[in-house]
Every structure is written in C-alpha cells, then in structure tokens.
C-alpha cells in the first residue's frame, strides 16, 4: 500500500485501553501447550490453539485452560480447523461454563504474517483476543512466554494494519508451587512424598534459611557486608511478629495442643484395634 511521506501513523484511541490489560497465565496452560507441541504431527512447525479463561472485573485476562486446534500452514495461507475448534469449545463449556474464549496461542518466538490472519479470525469470536506466544524452541536461550493484543493502526480514516502490542504477563505459578516444583521439574519422580517426608524437607529448608539470615546479620554487624536498611527493617518486623506470650502461658498453649493431638492419636489407635476385632467377629464366627 502506498503511503506518502507526510502522513502520520496514528495509533488508534484504543491504545489507552489496551495498556491497562494484563494477562495472567496459569501453569496448566504452559504444560498443555508444551505437551501439544511435543505431540504435533511431523510436518507442522508450530501448534496453534485456543485459550480459555475469563476476564476479571479489573480488566485482567485470566487464562486458565487451553486446547490445541489442528491447522495447516502454507507459505502465506493458514487453514484452521474451525469445526474442531467449535466442537472442543462446546465440550469444554459443558464442563465449565465460565471458561470462555479469551484468545489464542502459538508456539515459536515472535509474530508472523500468518498469525495476523488467525488473529482476525479470533477477533470475530471475541472482542479483544489475547495472543500468547510460547517459545518452545528456546531461541533466545530461554523459554519466553509473551502475550500480545492487537491494536488497529489507522491512517486518517483508513485501516492500515494491526499492530501486535505486547502486554505485561503474569505467570501465576501458585498451583505449580502447591504441587511442588521438584515434582514438576524433573523428568521422573519415583514416588510422591508422604506427609512426614515433606515435613522433613521443609524443616531442612527452613533451617538453611535461618542459617543464611544469621550469617547475613553477623556479617553486617561485623561490617563485612553492606547493611541494607530495608532488609533490616523486614527482619526486625519478622522477629517482632512472634506473639509475645509469657513463657508459662506459651508453654501451657503448646502443651494443650500437644495433649489434644496425643488424644486423637490414641483414639485412632483404639479405633483400629476395634476394627480388627469387628472383622474377626464378622467373618470368623462359625455356625455349628
């Protein structure tokens, strides 16, 4: 398209709105996308799919789920299996009617020409779709996840092009944290840790943390390390937040709780004995 050199590209008035949009991505989405990428058919270079989620009242887009849609990509044409997309959408909506389309994803770094076409298609489904790119090729030496929205560039009254503007992305890893990164990180974990083992690991970590803090405080006092006021303030707040109870009151509290727990433990052992008795009664009774 010809553009004279004195026209000015105007960013549409919607840019003020888009700058407020942020996206939050749940770890499940990344898992799903990686899994689909690993399973893609041999001739496809990237995978494309739909993002499901909801728009929170403060404008952030919460991306919670995703599914991949088969597509074919030629030099500058893209064919998306629309029927598949609608079928999957219907199935997902049956399970969770609150998760609606909020955008689409593709693997690979950057946005290509074909993406604009796909984005247009999604614009027809949802007013302002978010485009997520997940770089599975690790091209920059790290896996980058970026989110974009499209902004219409207009020249006067004419629509010129759509620009993909990056929006801030928040990776909420809280669920992944809950499961435990050590389980999710390694390629194979031999068994799920039981309660007490997890407690043990936790204690060790706490111990290392406390040791680190001790060392830091010692170093600062002796002048080896640069004192940082904010860190010092945080430390003093933490120490002060321990509730101030007189030792006898605290002891009584702790001992009471201990006694309660012991009582429960005793009760459960009695119940188990009762169980084995009951079982004997039920099955071992012989009739003459």
């Amino acid at each position: 398209m010809a553009a004279s050199d004195r026209t000015v590209l105007q960013f549409g008035p919607s840019s003020a709105v888009t700058s407020n949009i942020t996206a939050k991505v749940h770890p499940l989405v990344i898992f799903n996308i990686s899994d689909c990428y690993v399973r893609r058919p041999d001739q496809a270079e990237r995978v494309i799919g739909t993002l499901l989620g909801s728009v929170l009242p403060d404008g952030t887009v919460d991306i919670r789920n995703s599914y991949v849609v088969p597509h074919n990509e030629f030099s500058d044409q893209v064919a998306l299996d629309i029927e598949y997309h609608h079928t999957m959408l219907k199935s997902h909506l049956k399970v969770n009617p609150q998760e609606v389309i909020v955008g689409w994803f593709s693997t690979g770094l950057g946005v290509t020409g074909g993406s604009a076409l796909i984005h247009e298609f999604y614009c027809r489904e949802v007013p302002n779709p978010v485009h997520l790119t997940v770089d599975t090729g690790f091209r920059n030496g790290e896996g980058t996840v970026k989110a974009y929205v499209s902004v219409n560039l207009s020249l006067g009254d004419r629509q010129l092009a759509a620009q993909f503007q990056e929006i801030p992305l928040d990776l909420r890893m809280i669920e992944a944290e809950r499961v435990g990164f050590d389980i999710l990180k390694s390629t194979s974990v031999d068994k799920l840790p039981s309660d007490l083992e997890g407690m043990e690991v936790l204690m060790e970590r706490l111990l290392t943390l406390i040791n680190d803090i001790y060392k830091y405080v010692d170093d600062t006092v002796e002048g080896h390390a640069v004192p940082d006021n904010s860190v010092g303030r945080i430390l003093s707040e933490t120490v002060a937040s321990l509730p101030k109870l007189s030792p006898p009151a605290f002891d009584k509290l702790v001992n009471d709780s201990l006694q309660d727990q012991l009582l429960l433990l005793y009760l459960s052992s009695i119940t188990r004995t009762q169980l084995s008795l009951a079982e004997k009664l039920n099955t071992a009774a012989q009739m003459p």
Binding site: F31, F138, T187, M199, L209, V254, L258, S268
Partner: protein, 337 residues
C-alpha cells in the same frame, strides 16, 4: 517345519495372555495439574473425569485426562454424557493424544470414597479394559500441604469373589479375604517431558520458600481434624449398625436351628410311634415348613467398606497429628530462642 513354527507362534500368542501385574502408575505432570485444577474448581462438589494413556508392561502410563461435566439426574443427559465422551476422545485423537482409556479419576472430601458405587464403576470398567485404575485426589488434604494423590485398583481375588456373588462368610474365610484386601493401592510415579522440565526450571521463581511451605507450616489443623473426627464417629455408628445386623442374624440362625432340632425330634418320636403302630413313617424333612427356610445372610460388603473408610480416617488423623507435633515443637524451639 511350518507346523513347529506355527505352534510356537501359537504358544507365544497364548503366553501373552498372562500380563505382568500392575506395579506402578506413571502420571504426567500435566495430568496432575489438570486433575488438581478440576477438583479444586468444583470443590466441595465431587467431580469425576476420564484418564487416558497407555498400558505398558507392568507400568500404567497416564498421559492425559479430561473432565466430565456435572450431570443432573436426568434421563436424556445419559446419552449426552456418552456423546460428550465420544466427542472428546475423537478430538483428542486428532491431535495425537493417546486415545486409550485407562481409568478415571474422582475427587473426594476428606477421604470417604470407599463406597459401593466405586466398586460398581470398577467392575463396569473392568469389563472393557483389562487394566484400569482409579485416581483419588483429596483437595482438602492438599490444603494441609500434603499432595493427596492415590491410585487404587480392586484386588483380583476380591473381584472374582464379588462377580460370582458368593460373598458369604464361608467363602471369605476360605480365601482368607479381609477388608484390607478389597482395594490395592499402587505407587505413583511422576514423569514429565523434557520440554516441560526445561520450562519449569526456567520459570521457577527464585524464592526458596513456596506456597506449599506456607501451607505446611500452618499451625491450625483443628478444623480438618474436627471434620475427620466427625466422619469417623459417623462411620463407627454405621459399623455398629452393621454389627447389630450380624448379631441378629446369628441369633435367628441359632433359634431356627433349635427349632429344626425340636421339630426333627418330634418327627422321630412320631415315626417311632407309627412304626410301633405299623404305619408308614413320615419323611424326616418337610421343605414346606417355614422353619426350614434358610435365612438370608446380611451382605458383608458394606461392613467391609465401612472398615476401609475408618482405617482411612485413622491414617489421616495419624498423619496430620504427626505433622502437628513437628510444628508445635518447632514453635516451641523458636520461642525459646
């Protein structure tokens, strides 16, 4: 020559029938996250879903899953549910996901999942699939910091017995089957693809303390323990009801036997009298007499399930109290310092 080869092939094919026993269930991290998300979203309602994967030797690999929509009790929705399942499987097949059902998952509230319906579902699945597991996830226990995933399967001996409907005391004693033997828990292994592990390593935040640690260090475990105790007490009540049923049955059985004996005695006396009088002796059995009617034995399945549930609650209580001990000692040590 061809004969021997054919025979050996047949032999091999016949030998394949004996599958190695299931030792480990290997779940992908993706499946775990999906299950956790689905169960948490709908808690406290109980939800189910289907597991897909591969059955390889002694390992059952679960590579994907999809949730079932919550179904209202309606006739037409039955067909809908089956349709939904077929559609999902078809769509997933198109994107190269393993299309093989290997079981189902369900969420539970504080561990009361051992019900007769579970056994029914297991048997239904077992008809079509040779090996299936059920994964139970407990979101309320996971809030305490432990990851409450369990893979269950019905033990073979129990299944045979149940199918033959021979669930009487005699048979149970024969096979030495007790309530412990109904469900078998299979150890769970987690595996992730290399791409995912690269991503997670990349995206892991730097803080050494995670949300999970916060959950674990919570001092207030009493609401959880209270609910556990409530369920335990209810189960004990149920157990005592079942035991009363057994007592009643035994009592009536003894009474019936006594009656039979006295009736038999009377008959014998009568017969003696008749013989003395030269008449035909009456038969010593009288199937139409109601005291000979066999009394049905009360089903033992329910009491077994209750026993299982109680054991589960006890285990949970033990686990949580163990954790609380450590926490309390920790606070004590901190306070002393």
């Amino acid at each position: 020559m061809a004969n021997t080869m054919a025979r050996s092939f047949l032999q091999v094919a016949a030998a394949e029938e004996v599958a190695p026993p299931l030792r480990v269930v290997q779940i992908e991290g993706l499946v775990m996250l999906k299950i956790i998300k689905h169960c948490k979203e709908f808690s406290p309602a109980l939800v189910t879903g289907q597991l897909l994967g591969l059955d390889v030797g002694s390992v059952l690999e679960v590579t994907n899953c999809f949730p079932f929509p919550i179904q209202e009790e309606d006739e037409e929705i039955e067909a809908d549910g089956a349709n939904y399942q077929l559609e999902m499987m078809r769509c997933l097949r198109e994107v190269n996901v393993d299309n093989n059902t290997v079981g189902w998952y369900q969420s539970t509230m504080l561990g009361c999942f051992q019900t007769a319906e579970l056994i029914e579902t297991f048997l239904n699945y077992q008809e079509n699939i040779r090996r299936c597991v059920c994964i139970i996830y407990d979101p309320s226990r996971s809030n305490q910091g432990a990851l409450a995933f369990k893979a269950l399967k019905l033990s073979d001996s129990f299944m045979d017995l149940y199918r033959s409907n021979n669930f009487t005391g005699e048979k149970l004693r024969e096979k030495n089957l007790s309530w412990v033997d109904i469900f078998e828990e299979i150890p769970v292994k987690v595996s992730n693809s290399a791409l995912i592990s690269a991503f997670m390593t990349e995206l892991e935040p730097d803080t050494p303390v995670t949300q999970r640690d916060y959950d674990r260090l919570q001092l207030s475990s009493s609401p959880f323990l209270e609910r556990n105790m409530e369920f335990l007490i209810e189960c004990m009540d149920d157990l005592s009801v079942e035991q009363q049923k057994f007592q009643f049955y035994y009592r009536s059985l003894t009474r019936q036997q006594a009656q039979q004996q006295s009736w038999l005695q009377k008959r014998r006396d009568e017969n003696k009298a008749r013989k003395a009088a030269g008449e035909e002796p009456l038969p010593e059995e009288d199937p139409s007499n109601p005291i000979f009617k066999p009394i049905p034995e009360p089903p033992r399945l329910e009491s077994f399930l209750i026993a299982n549930r109680i054991a589960n609650y006890c285990n949970q209580i033990n686990g949580v109290t163990g954790q609380s001990f450590s926490r309390l000692y920790l606070t004590k040590a901190l306070h002393d310092n």
